[in-house]
């Protein structure tokens, strides 16, 4: 990786200084151990709805909504024996004793949080390994432990795997990964982008700053996976992650604080421009006939990062004031429109955030598809167009919503968000990423 001169001050989610002058590379997904752990957890962690499996087995309602197989039923008390099930499942999954396999019982036996050992994922190339290993492991445990006979083996399969393999995903199943099956990814490198904003908000328990951070980590890491963070674009994505997602130099928090009580989106634009001028990122180039000043920059990547931070702040102020997520696309379009007309410089992601906002406004306010912001993600055809700078803002906004939608984040996320919020690194990513950056600052 290239050596970058940039250094940033790290701040926590409340805007408190954590460490100064940290090299930007310490925040790179290629180097930061906490980011790598977060990505690993995303692959390794799976949520199991044990109550769901039990009910499916008892009722024969398997393989998707309204699929009801009369005469098929087997009663097993999985929830009551959750600890034993968890022990046996761990044993099935473990590669070596005392490896990183974990099966945690939650909600009095109704849910399990399973961490599949890294050794299993490293033995192959697929990331679906966690879901398949847990699903298969659970089938094995249930059949063995509860003496389910051969004639009901197919029912056990469906209660866990859903309608797979008739469907490509586990339709109606009870083992859920944060990641979707590869067939559902739009293109190469899109796996980490295919995470609903609803999941992010639920995993971080609706802490808006951590939602922004977790989403930005996944989105931006994906851009390394896609090959987009290459050449001069690597710094583009590094700075974007740092400033927009990880509150570098406290720009996001500062701009929010400045405008928290009475400010609006337009004020956030002005705060962004002011900060960029003060920090020497942009400067006047020339004056037009009307007296309008055209600005320029010697560092467009850094300008983009500042603009992206301002966009995040603008989202938080607008959606925070309304305590509503639906305003997000309006923010995406008009923050950028106003920023360009204020400076004469291209706005966030060089027009791609504005474009994504246009599409998302349409698809969250009309008959043509989409839904409320919580259903969107970086893999969604509506919102994939910005290269990592929109969805973190969507996630932050979803976290701020007070309950204005029917398809709430809780409903959309279901078991996944609730269970994965038990993983500290996923729930409070900013803290762990900052700590890790400080640890490795001397080595990058």
């Amino acid at each position: 990786m290239k050596k970058y001169k940039d250094v940033v001050d790290l701040h926590d989610d409340h805007g408190r200084l954590v460490a100064s002058n940290i090299p930007i590379a310490a925040l790179s997904p290629l180097l930061n151990p906490a980011i790598q752990k977060i990505v690993a957890f995303v692959k390794q962690c799976v949520a199991v709805n044990l109550q769901g499996v039990q009910t499916a087995l008892a009722t024969g309602e398997v393989g998707g909504k309204w699929s009801m197989l009369r005469g098929r039923s087997t009663k097993v008390d999985l929830v009551g024996n959750a600890e034993a099930v968890a022990r046996d499942l761990k044993e099935s999954l473990q590669v070596k004793p005392k490896d990183d396999t974990e099966v945690k019982v939650l909600k009095e036996g109704k849910n399990l949080l399973v961490t599949v050992p890294a050794a299993r994922l490293n033995a192959g190339v697929e990331y679906t390994t966690s879901a398949t290993a847990v699903a298969a492991g659970l089938c094995h445990v249930i059949i063995e432990k509860f003496n389910v006979d051969m004639w009901d083996a197919d029912l056990v399969h469906a209660a866990i795997w859903g309608r797979y393999p008739q469907t490509m995903d586990m339709l109606g199943g009870n083992v859920v990964s944060l990641l979707s099956v590869p067939q559902q990814n739009e293109g190469m490198g899109y796996a980490l982008r295919n995470v609903l904003a609803a999941h992010i908000a639920m995993i971080t328990r609706k802490n808006s700053m951590n939602s922004a951070a977790l989403s930005s980590i996944l989105e931006q890491t994906a851009h390394w996976e896609m090959g987009d963070a290459m050449g001069n674009f690597e710094r583009f994505h590094l700075l974007g992650l740092a400033y927009q997602g990880l509150n570098a130099d406290n720009i996001v928090y500062d701009i929010v604080k400045e405008n928290a009580k009475t400010g609006n989106l337009g004020d956030c634009v002005k705060s962004t421009v002011k900060r960029a001028i003060e920090d020497g990122v942009i400067r006047p180039l020339e004056k037009a006939k009307s007296g309008y000043t055209i600005y320029t920059t010697n560092d467009l990547n850094k300008w983009n990062a500042y603009a992206a931070a301002g966009l995040m702040a603008g989202t938080m102020v607008t959606c925070g004031a309304a305590r509503a997520m639906q305003h997000t696309p309006s923010v995406f379009i008009y923050f950028n429109d106003l920023l360009e007309r204020e400076t004469g410089l291209p706005a966030v992601d060089f027009g791609r955030v504005a474009g994504t906002g246009v599409e998302m406004a349409f698809f969250s306010h009309s008959i043509y598809g989409g839904g409320n912001p919580a259903v969107f993600n970086g893999n969604h055809i509506v919102t994939r167009h910005s290269k990592g700078f929109c969805i973190p803002c969507v996630a932050a906004a979803v976290a701020l919503d007070a309950g204005t939608t029917i398809y709430t984040p809780e409903k959309l996320s279901g078991v996944v968000g609730e269970v994965l919020s038990e993983v500290p690194e996923l729930r409070e990513p900013l803290k762990y990423v900052n700590e890790a950056a400080v640890k490795i600052k001397g080595e990058v």
């Binding site: 067939q183 559902q184 990814n185 739009e186 293109g187 190469m188 490198g189 896609m226 090959g227 987009d228 290459m230 674009f233 291209p346 992601d349 060089f350 027009g351 791609r352 504005a354 474009g355 994504t356 246009v358 599409e359 406004a361 349409f362 698809f363 306010h365 009309s366 043509y368 969604h380 055809i381 509506v382 994939r384 167009h385 910005s386 290269k387």
Partner: protein, 555 residues
């Protein structure tokens, strides 16, 4: 009366009582939907149907606040023709010509014969000569529409239902072409102007390709993914018959592989999960392929603007009306987002203005490399011209009552002009993007809610080389990520590709085999004059294929 010459003035005078420059008119006095012959016809049908089936149907009185038709319901002129029709006649469900264009595209598969011949000669020691090729083709003419060969006691398809199904071949080798039965040949020399024929024969060389047209009936009952499979089945059976092979020896597996995979050129490729369709569906057809399917370049090779306009009409129907208006949405659809590009000669006027401007400023087409000076100059001037026509002629503004329509036409003029000037359609689309940004600023409005998503992303993605951003414009289509969502673009985009290569005098824009494959007079749709054909469809004067008359009761 305007003293200025504009191509659209005649149509506007037919659409409205007042002069095109008049700013005032009357509303609310037209009897709503009753002013339209078509809608009165719809109501009559609807009343009968509701009675027959005892379920109500079409009823324009159900509108939220007042039935439609509070303003003049405009007649539309098919651009480049004297045909006038109503908007309803341009809905693809109401227009048999539009449907046939799509069927003719979907049911086409091109596959190379040389690999199969190599299997025969090298693996099986069989002789392949022009005579045996003709023999094979005659068998395939029987088999492809569903006639059995080799197998006993088979259920076959009634030829009357599938009479539009056949195979033809082409080659760049004049000697070989001379020996092929002329009934089975697409003769490059006869179909193309001399210079285009030379280019095409040079690139195809001695290779031999077959173009299979599966029945329209199959296209209506099955899907695009069927076509290569159908062709492969019957190609393989015909090979077995023609060359006396064991029906199902190992070598036959190689025919199947060749026919279904290795040697196949599909019209369209797969689309991903969220909008999943198989091959040979509109979602997978690149712009350049559609531009090549348009055969207007054989008729007026020296008028690349006219050719582009014809290609635009095909793009409008296929991508905007079929794909976005139905596959991706449906119901009432997107007719008028598309028809604005091929009616009333409005876009024609903008494009010819742009062409004249380019000729004057740059001395002709395809002569100047892309540069910021050129893109700014040409795209800005043509955009300003387009915008000014809407403002100078209120009737023109009213004809294109939706911002998306105006955005498409203004930017199409700009994009086509840049394409003509540079011979580079990626530069052309960059000109389109500049036009959209100028339009948004000029009018302070642009299109529908999501219209300009791709136009905001487009500047940065024009010359990007990154993963899912970079791609020459010819190869983009409605599965290019930015383009996957919005109507009102791909029509013009087809023309932007066409114009770049037409201006250069190229015989094709992207795929020479597709260009040749559609130079076929037996096709039901007239790819040399798409707009005229659509017009005939509007007038109910177009006879499609696939009619089931012979298997249904008289009615």
């Amino acid at each position: 009366m305007s003293k200025e010459k504009r191509m659209f003035l005649e149509a506007l005078r037919k659409k409205f009582k007042e002069a095109p420059e008049e700013k005032y008119t009357k509303f609310y006095i037209y009897g709503a939907w009753r002013q339209s012959k078509r809608k009165r016809e719809f109501m009559e049908y609807s009343k009968k149907i509701a009675k027959q089936r005892n379920i109500p149907m079409y009823n324009p009185e159900l509108h939220l606040g007042a039935p439609l038709g509070q303003r003049v319901l405009m007649a539309y002129r098919m651009s480049g023709t004297d045909i006038y029709c109503e908007a309803d006649d341009l809905h693809f469900i109401n227009n048999a010509a539009m449907q046939q264009m799509w069927h003719d595209i979907r049911r086409t598969i091109i596959s190379g014969l040389d690999a199969a011949h190599t299997v025969l000669q090298k693996r099986l020691g069989k002789e392949v000569t022009p005579e045996t090729v003709n023999g094979y083709l005659e068998i395939l003419e029987h088999a492809l529409p569903g006639g059995a060969v080799v197998q006993e006691h088979m259920a076959e398809i009634n030829p009357e239902l599938v009479k539009d199904c056949y195979v033809k071949v082409f080659t760049g080798d004049d000697e070989l072409a001379d020996e092929i039965d002329p009934r089975f040949l697409i003769d490059i020399n006869k179909q193309f102007p001399a210079d285009h024929a030379k280019q095409l024969k040079e690139v195809v060389g001695k290779k031999l390709y077959q173009v299979c047209r599966m029945p329209t009936a199959t296209s209506m009952s099955c899907d695009g993914g069927t076509m290569a499979r159908w062709a492969a089945m019957q190609i393989s059976m015909s090979m077995i018959d023609a060359y006396k092979l064991m029906a199902g020896e190992a070598a036959v597996g190689e025919f199947a592989f060749a026919a279904k995979h290795a040697e196949v050129i599909e019209m369209g490729t797969l689309t991903p999960w969220r909008r999943a369709r198989g091959p040979n569906e509109p979602g997978g057809i690149p712009l350049g392929y559609l531009a090549d399917m348009c055969q207007a370049s054989r008729v007026k090779p020296n008028d690349p603007v006219w050719v582009a306009l014809e290609a635009i009409s095909m793009g409008a129907v296929l991508y905007d009306q079929f794909w976005f208006g139905s596959y991706m949405s449906g119901g009432v659809g997107f007719t008028q987002y598309a028809s604005c590009t091929y009616t009333d000669d409005i876009l024609d006027d903008f494009c010819y203005y742009g062409a004249d401007y380019v000729k004057k400023k740059y001395g002709g087409f395809g002569k100047t490399k892309p540069s910021w000076d050129l893109i700014k100059n040409v795209a800005t001037e043509v955009s300003l011209y387009g915008l000014e026509q809407y403002e100078k002629y209120p009737a023109c503004m009213e004809a294109h009552f939706g911002g998306s329509q105006r955005a498409a036409c203004v930017a199409a003029g700009a994009g086509v002009a840049v394409s003509l000037a540079t011979g580079n359609c990626t530069a052309g689309i960059n000109g389109w993007y500049l036009s959209q940004l100028l339009h948004k600023e000029e009018m302070g409005r642009l299109g529908f809610y999501g219209y300009d998503q791709q136009d905001q992303c487009g500047s940065a993605n024009s010359f990007s080389w990154r993963s899912d951003e970079g791609l020459p414009f010819n190869l983009r289509g409605v599965n290019y990520p930015n383009y996957a969502l919005n109507v009102g673009h791909q029509s013009a985009h087809t023309g932007i590709v066409s114009a770049a290569h037409g201006g250069r005098g190229d015989a094709w824009t992207t795929n020479p085999l597709i260009k040749i494959a559609f130079a076929d007079k037996n096709l039901v749709f007239d790819f040399t004059h798409p707009r005229l054909c659509f017009g005939k469809g509007a007038l109910r004067e177009f006879m499609p294929a696939g009619e089931r008359t012979v298997i249904i009761p008289p009615h």
